[in-house]
């Protein structure tokens, strides 16, 4: 979680010694590319996020569509994780964090007074950077969410949910004989897939992933990426990643953030072969800074 949990992500770059962040952001110009899609599941409109007096996100517009993976890339402290955590109001836990602008799920404002963050988080699930299974049994890990929300009527229901979620997360065959073992006894990749199963078990509509593979080896990463591609059939997915290759592999659309500003968004194919903004180009080709 390192810098992501830090309520004050360091936005300082070398240039800031002369210019304020606001000036630099203003110099970045308008977002390049088309942030809107025809039938958005979630929609972010003109969103600013502040940590105390510091502005972390500057007027971002972005849509997340069904059956699509949107990847958010950019250098550390560019606000991509912050924006992701706004999408299921995980930032509510940080007292100094303030969000303005409009974020909607199926057209409903998720920051309105009528929206319960607990219900929202059941609809918008989240997978974190570090695999974080509860130190409980594998079964309990997956069953926790459904039980919390009362999604099951009886024990048999719950068993079904657990098994189906584990199957969808592609880990069932590996753990079916040891559902009562601790979730923490699994390998890193298995733990992450268990966390995905735990998220799926709440039957969310949107899945947010915050650098889900950064703690995993390449084979586990490949399995998760394959899984993300399968999950796309049923969910809208937004993924924050530091690996550009991963963004290129798993996503259909890519958004590039810089200093809290959405610099460029577009089809992943275009972004990775012919980005239009110079900063995107520099970041993608490894010329950054």
């Amino acid at each position: 979680m390192n810098e992501e949990v830090n309520p004050l992500p360091s936005l300082e770059q070398d240039q800031t010694s002369e210019q304020t962040i606001e000036e630099i952001v203003a110099s970045l110009g308008d977002t390049v590319g088309q942030p809107r899609v025809d039938d958005p599941k979630m929609s972010v409109s003109n969103v600013d996020v502040f940590y105390g007096k510091k502005q972390a996100i500057f007027g971002v517009d972005l849509d997340i569509a069904n059956n699509e993976v949107v990847s958010m890339i950019g250098p550390s402290g560019c606000g991509k994780s912050t924006l992701l955590r706004c999408l299921n109001r995980m930032n509510d836990t940080i007292p100094i964090c303030r969000v303005s602008g409009e974020l909607t799920l199926d057209g409903e404002d998720i920051y309105s007074k009528d929206t319960d963050p607990v219900l929202l988080r059941a609809r918008v699930g989240m997978v974190f950077q570090k695999p974080n299974p509860f130190p409980k049994s594998i079964y309990e890990n997956v069953a926790y969410g459904p039980r919390l929300h009362g999604l099951n009527r009886n024990k048999a229901d719950l068993d079904d949910i657990v098994v189906n979620s584990l199957k969808k997360a592609g880990i069932y065959n590996e753990v079916k004989n040891r559902l009562d073992e601790s979730g923490t006894s699994l390998s890193g990749g298995q733990q992450q897939r268990l966390c995905i199963a735990r998220t799926i078990a709440c039957s969310p509509e949107v899945i947010l992933m915050d650098e889900p593979c950064s703690a995993l080896d390449p084979i586990a990463t490949a399995k998760i990426e394959e899984l993300i591609d399968e999950l796309r059939e049923n969910y809208a997915i937004a993924i924050v990643t530091h690996s550009m290759q991963q963004a290129a592999r798993v996503s259909q659309r890519t958004a590039y953030f810089h200093l809290g500003k959405l610099v460029e968004v577009g089809d992943t194919d275009t972004i990775f072969t012919n980005p239009r903004h110079e900063l995107t180009e520099n970041y993608i080709t490894g010329r950054f800074g």
């Binding site: 949990v5 995980m90 007292p95 607990v118 988080r121 997978v127 974190f128 570090k130 130190p135 919390l148």
Partner: protein, 430 residues
């Protein structure tokens, strides 16, 4: 050129290696010396206490043939309980002693002879007769505890080669005891009195049961009061309270409270619980209240540390599947922090168990013979008992003091072991 430079670097490094290793070795030696020194002190302490205290776990008994005729006891034909309680058991014991040594005629010698048996012997006798009144008129062989000086002599603490005037145990007494030992009428047994009786003015009749029960009752009150309050405080401060000037102030004050001398808590307890609320003096409930005040900051601080050490990823995970703040705390954070909280609690309890000063202020220092059975009974606690006994001159009490310290230490070790065990048992990896 380059190769030469490299060679030089190697040589320079090699030259400094010796000093580096020497420094490392010296540091290790210092550490070792420090540990050895502290272990030595600990060993000396333990050995002294054990050596002094061990004899107290044994007691010397003398076998007497006591005739319990109603005339000697001074009771009627069919005595009631009251009569039996007040009967002259001491006379019966004295009579059996004179029967044993009929040559003793002089008043002074007789007094010396009577001293062989503890003054507490009569209470043993009283207890037996009251349990079974039909014993009146019978003659029974009983084992009675010997007096303090006799006990010392048998333990070899009195040097018989000293001139008679310089020792408390006189020549004729030695003669009698040696004879009795020869007749196998003197025996050393496990000192159950020590664990079965309350305090007494006679060292051979004094026990720690009263103070042990006092300690347990006090600790129970302390635990029941401080644990829930402290855990609730810690959870609120750590998980729910907004971080502002007020919570900072509270935090500073809690940390300060932990450093306040315990006697101050005693004064506070005296002023508030006893003078203002009129709670009884010397009662475990007041002791428990005062010790709770003292333990609270310790438990709060350790509980907060334990809560803080629960990785944020677990909170995120629970929030991420849609648990509310309260559910996150009670389903995940608290169970994971429990081992740490329990350890802190037990350490706080152990501190409270060893605390003396504040209890002196609320009168738990009184001489109390009876074993307390309720929270409002007058009572004393182990460390105060040790403090009291340490003040008394009799040889027997010196032993008792060490023995009580051993019991206290044993309790502390058991509590700390429990802390370690609980931590191991509930500790979960993530």
């Amino acid at each position: 050129m380059n190769a030469q430079e490299e060679l030089n670097t190697t040589e320079v490094v090699r030259g400094s290696l010796k000093r580096r290793y020497a420094r490392e070795k010296r540091f290790r030696l210092f550490g070792l010396a420090a540990i050895t020194a502290s272990l030595t002190f600990l060993a000396v302490l333990l050995i002294t206490i054990t050596a002094r205290g061990l004899p107290a776990f044994k007691q010397t008994f003398i076998q007497l043939e006591v005739t319990l005729d109603s005339k000697t006891l001074g009771v009627g034909e069919n005595p009631d309980t009251n009569e039996l309680r007040r009967a002259n058991y001491n006379g019966a014991i004295k009579k059996s002693l004179t029967t044993l040594f009929p040559d003793v005629k002089k008043r002074k010698d007789k007094k010396a002879l009577y001293k062989l048996v503890s003054k507490g012997g009569q209470y043993d006798l009283q207890k037996r007769v009251m349990a079974d009144p039909s014993l009146v008129g019978e003659t029974l062989k009983v084992w009675l505890p010997v007096g303090d000086d006799t006990n010392s002599y048998i333990q070899g603490n009195i040097d018989s080669s000293l001139p008679e005037k310089k020792r408390r145990f006189k020549d004729n007494q030695i003669l009698w005891v040696d004879q009795l030992t020869e007749d196998k009428q003197i025996q050393r047994r496990f000192n159950s009195t020590f664990f079965e009786r309350g305090d007494s003015r006679e060292p051979e009749m004094a026990g720690i049961k009263g103070s042990l029960f006092g300690s347990m009752l006090t600790l129970m009150v302390t635990l029941l009061l401080s644990f829930p309050v402290a855990v609730a405080t810690a959870i609120y401060l750590e998980e729910f309270a907004p971080k502002n000037r007020w919570t900072d102030l509270i935090e500073v004050n809690i940390n300060n409270l932990a450093a306040v001398p315990s006697i101050v808590f005693g004064l506070l307890g005296l002023a508030i619980f006893i003078n203002f609320f009129n709670l009884p003096r010397s009662a475990p409930i007041v002791g428990g209240l005062v010790l709770s005040l003292m333990t609270l900051p310790t438990i709060i601080i350790s509980a907060r540390a334990a809560l803080k050490s629960v990785p944020p990823s677990i909170r995120d995970a629970a929030l991420g599947v849609g648990a509310s703040k309260l559910q996150v705390v009670f389903h995940h954070v608290l169970p994971l922090a429990m081992p740490g909280i329990l350890t802190g609690t037990i350490i706080g309890m152990a501190q409270a168990l060893g605390e003396t000063a504040p209890l002196l202020m609320i009168g738990m220092v009184a001489f109390i013979v009876d074993v307390p059975t309720s929270l409002t009974d007058p009572a004393t606690v182990l460390p105060v008992q040790i403090y009291q006994w340490a003040d008394l001159p009799e040889k027997g009490f010196v032993e008792k003091t060490s023995a009580a310290i051993m019991v206290l230490l044993a309790f502390l070790i058991v509590m700390n072991a429990a802390a370690v065990y609980l931590r191991r048992k509930f500790e979960r990896k993530w």
